[in-house]
């Protein structure tokens, strides 16, 4: 048993850190926050050149065909850099296409995604803001050799910059996955400005948008399974990203506690501060264990994988928030300012807490999985 990154995985992680430090410093993040989409084409190119947009994409579709542990290693660095933009949204959509798409469809979407030429997102949440597929109400009506969409999705990440939106809709008791071009007739994308400006959310309205049969993903009927599988992948990657954020907050806070003087000594010599920092470490390391295990278990199709994803997300949701809270507290006033980069992570911790379901949601999911004989 070896619960540590391998040499190549470590190298990958180090190179990710180096690249993101270069291409995505805090100044750049702040510039992008102020834009409409938080997307930067140059930065996207840089990610694609590393192969990251296709890191999980099979080699057959031009990707690197690596596993989720490798992706987690890179995602951790993305979280550390508070990377803005559509990376995770595109990854989610790609995972959905990979699971639900025909060979042809996979080629159609995954190749340009791997090449960095296509960005995508999944339009899932509705008014209920529930991540439970059973809560979806948007009905796709059959007609004209395909489906028609009328209604709206909320909280769709990166819809303002995604080339394709995969809309999850109801077809009676089953689900259908309908890829729609952002620019298609009848599609309106409206920003929903939110706390974390590095990950933009949108309302997407569909007014009589038709999707031809050949476009429909998961026509074989397992759209629900594909959605679940893809959600688990995206959730595991998000958890790794959250770990990177926690690590940044921890490092920055410890560094500050070593240098900031009050009462003639570094504040890090006060037991209250020490203990807050120790708890931050414990939470960060625990989150890391959970996130990488989820990534590994999904890759290995371990029977514990589904629970592992919820364990990771429930824990990371609470832990990132608590680490960020303590980070601000140790910093005192300065940590509460716009100027200090802590605010980026503070807000990211909040948006990550709810994305793909909050701790309460995932605890209920764990209960369903482990209290099995009900």
């Amino acid at each position: 048993m070896d619960f540590d990154l391998s040499k190549p995985q470590k190298l990958l992680k180090e190179s990710a850190r180096a690249l993101l430090a270069r291409e995505c410093g805090a100044g750049r993040v702040r510039e992008l926050m102020e834009t409409e989409t938080a997307h930067d084409e140059g930065l996207w190119r840089a990610l694609a050149e590393q192969g990251w947009t296709g890191l999980l994409v099979p080699e057959a579709q031009g990707g690197l065909g690596l596993g989720l542990v490798e992706m987690a290693a890179v995602a951790e660095e993305m979280g550390r850099a508070c990377l803005p933009g559509a990376f995770l949204s595109t990854l989610f959509a790609a995972a959905l296409v990979e699971r639900a798409g025909s060979a042809e469809q996979r080629a159609k979407y995954l190749e340009p995604i791997a090449a960095g030429e296509l960005k995508a997102t999944v339009a899932l949440l509705e008014e209920s803001a529930s991540w439970d597929a059973d809560a979806l109400k948007l009905e796709a009506s059959r007609g004209g050799g395909g489906f028609n969409l009328k209604g709206r999705k909320l909280f769709v990440p990166d819809a303002g910059v995604a080339d394709v939106l995969v809309c999850v809709a109801r077809d009676g008791d089953s689900l259908v996955l309908l890829p729609v071009a952002r620019g298609a007739e009848g599609v309106t994308v409206k920003p929903m400005p939110s706390m974390d400006a590095t990950r933009k959310l949108y309302e997407v309205r569909f007014e009589g948008v038709s999707v031809a049969e050949s476009y429909v993903l998961g026509a074989d009927g397992d759209a629900r399974g594909a959605l679940q599988g893809a959600s688990e992948v995206a959730t595991a990657v998000l958890c790794a990203e959250m770990v990177g954020g926690m690590q940044w907050v921890l490092d920055t806070t410890v560094e500050y506690a070593k240098t900031r003087q009050q009462f003639g000594r570094p504040v890090g010599s006060f037991q209250a501060v020490q203990h807050m920092c120790a708890d931050m470490l414990l939470m960060t390391e625990s989150a890391r264990s959970a996130a990488y295990y989820a990534a590994w278990a999904l890759t290995e199709r371990d029977p514990s994988a589904r629970a592992a994803v919820s364990v990771a997300k429930a824990y990371c949701s609470d832990a990132y928030r608590e680490v960020a809270n303590r980070g601000v507290q140790v910093h005192g006033g300065i940590g509460f300012t716009w100027e200090h980069d802590l605010q980026l992570y503070y807000k990211r911790s909040k948006s990550s807490e709810t994305l793909f379901g909050d701790a309460t949601f995932h605890r209920e999911r764990i209960a369903r999985l482990v209290m099995s004989d009900e």
Partner: protein, 392 residues
């Protein structure tokens, strides 16, 4: 033990409530209102304070001889609660009224009293408090803003931070170091500084919530004359403690009314957002959170009332302020976290309920830092109330 108001307290409350009913600007009480334009907004607030003043409701705790009403502590609490209940505009002169005025009354010269007290009451002078510095936060006595002698005058150089109202203040209660050689508590002097003097620069400090309630204030060769020393030279620490005691005796009696309104809004919201296809208000987990928020707030109200009783009887403020501050700041953070959990991603939106939840969540984070961190409050409680030995 009798938690009912006495007849005279009730009378005071009814009188002020009636006055507010007639005088709180309708467009403000409506919840929105006020002008977005800063100068105009400040004028609006000054006008509101003048209205209070004209009605005899400014500086009610001050002795009658200085223009106050000599109100009891409980009347002051009622005053704050009623202001909050009526959703009245912010009291722009609050630092002058609750902190500077009482300190001038206690330690000021006759000239200072005559010069400043009436203006503080009328709102013609807005005050700010120049205590904290970048390197003197929890350790306030480490402040380094320099006051060099030039004949009888002082020449001030340095920086203050976290200065509320500085962007609109006319005057500043300023702590400076007048003796760099003395032990840190013994070389400090308290000055009344004109914010319009040459060399004073104010820079708004943007918070993570995006707005700027605090400021940095820079002093560059600012000249201050000897008549503007409050208390004695190099005894400014005593002056500061007097001022802070006056501040901490303010037990946040208005704040619980604000919290109450927020909680009511949250309960109402819990009936419109969904959980598993039903109103969130029917979800047992949501109900537990709302009930916990309710009971903690109720206890804040009760703790406040007990502290008021105890302060009224003891006269001098003790550590009650620290207990109150610790309680409400931590409580408010928990409650805003509950709000986020109940509202889900809606709680993060800048356009849901005008962004009130998003703003409150971020703003609340500062509660355990501003006006004495929770760590400092716990130290004060441990040492002054429980008599534990000093920790550092």
């Amino acid at each position: 033990m009798d938690l009912n108001l006495t007849p005279s307290e009730r009378e005071f409350r009814d009188e002020f409530r009636a006055w507010l009913g007639e005088n709180v600007p309708a467009e403000w009480a409506g919840g929105g209102g006020g002008s977005e334009d800063r100068a105009e907004y400040i004028e609006y607030l000054r006008a509101w304070q003048r209205k209070l003043y004209d009605g005899g409701w400014a500086g009610i705790s001050w002795p009658k001889e200085f223009g106050g009403r000599g109100a009891t502590l409980l009347e002051q609490a009622i005053f704050q609660e009623e202001l909050a209940r009526a959703n009245a505009p912010q009291l722009v002169g609050t630092i002058g009224l609750s902190l500077v005025g009482p300190t001038i009354i206690a330690l000021g010269t006759e000239g200072q009293k005559a010069r400043h007290l009436p203006q503080i009451l009328s709102g013609d002078e807005i005050w700010c408090q120049g205590f904290s510095e970048p390197n003197a936060g929890s350790d306030l006595a480490a402040l380094g803003t320099k006051a060099a002698r030039d004949g009888e005058d002082f020449i001030i150089n340095g920086q203050k931070i976290w200065t509320s109202f500085a962007q609109m203040a006319d005057w500043c209660l300023l702590l400076v170091r007048t003796d760099a050689e003395a032990p840190k508590h013994k070389g400090i002097t308290c000055l009344l500084a004109d914010m319009h003097a040459a060399g004073v620069t104010v820079r708004p400090l943007r918070q993570m919530s995006g707005d700027s309630g605090f400021n940095e204030v820079f002093f560059s060769d600012v000249r201050i004359g000897p008549s503007q020393v409050l208390g004695e030279v190099n005894k400014g620490w005593t002056t500061a403690i007097t001022a802070l005691m006056n501040e901490r005796a303010n037990l946040g009696t208005g704040i619980q009314v604000v919290f109450k309104r927020q909680l009511e809004a949250l309960i109402a919201r819990s009936k419109t957002v969904e959980r598993d296809g039903r109103p969130a208000s029917e979800d047992p987990l949501v109900r537990q959170k709302l009930a916990q928020a309710y009971l903690e707030l109720e206890i804040l109200r009760l703790n406040t009332n007990r502290a008021l009783t105890s302060l009224s009887k003891a006269g001098a403020p003790g550590a009650e302020g620290s207990i109150q501050k610790l309680y409400w700041s931590e409580m408010n953070q928990r409650t805003q976290q509950y709000a986020q959990e109940i509202l889900g991603p809606y709680g993060q939106l800048k356009e849901f309920d005008k962004g009130a939840w998003e703003y409150a969540y971020l703003r609340t984070r500062g509660n355990t830092i501003e006006a004495g961190t929770s760590e400092i409050q716990r130290n004060i409680i441990a040492e002054r109330v429980l008599g534990l030995p000093k920790s550092y």
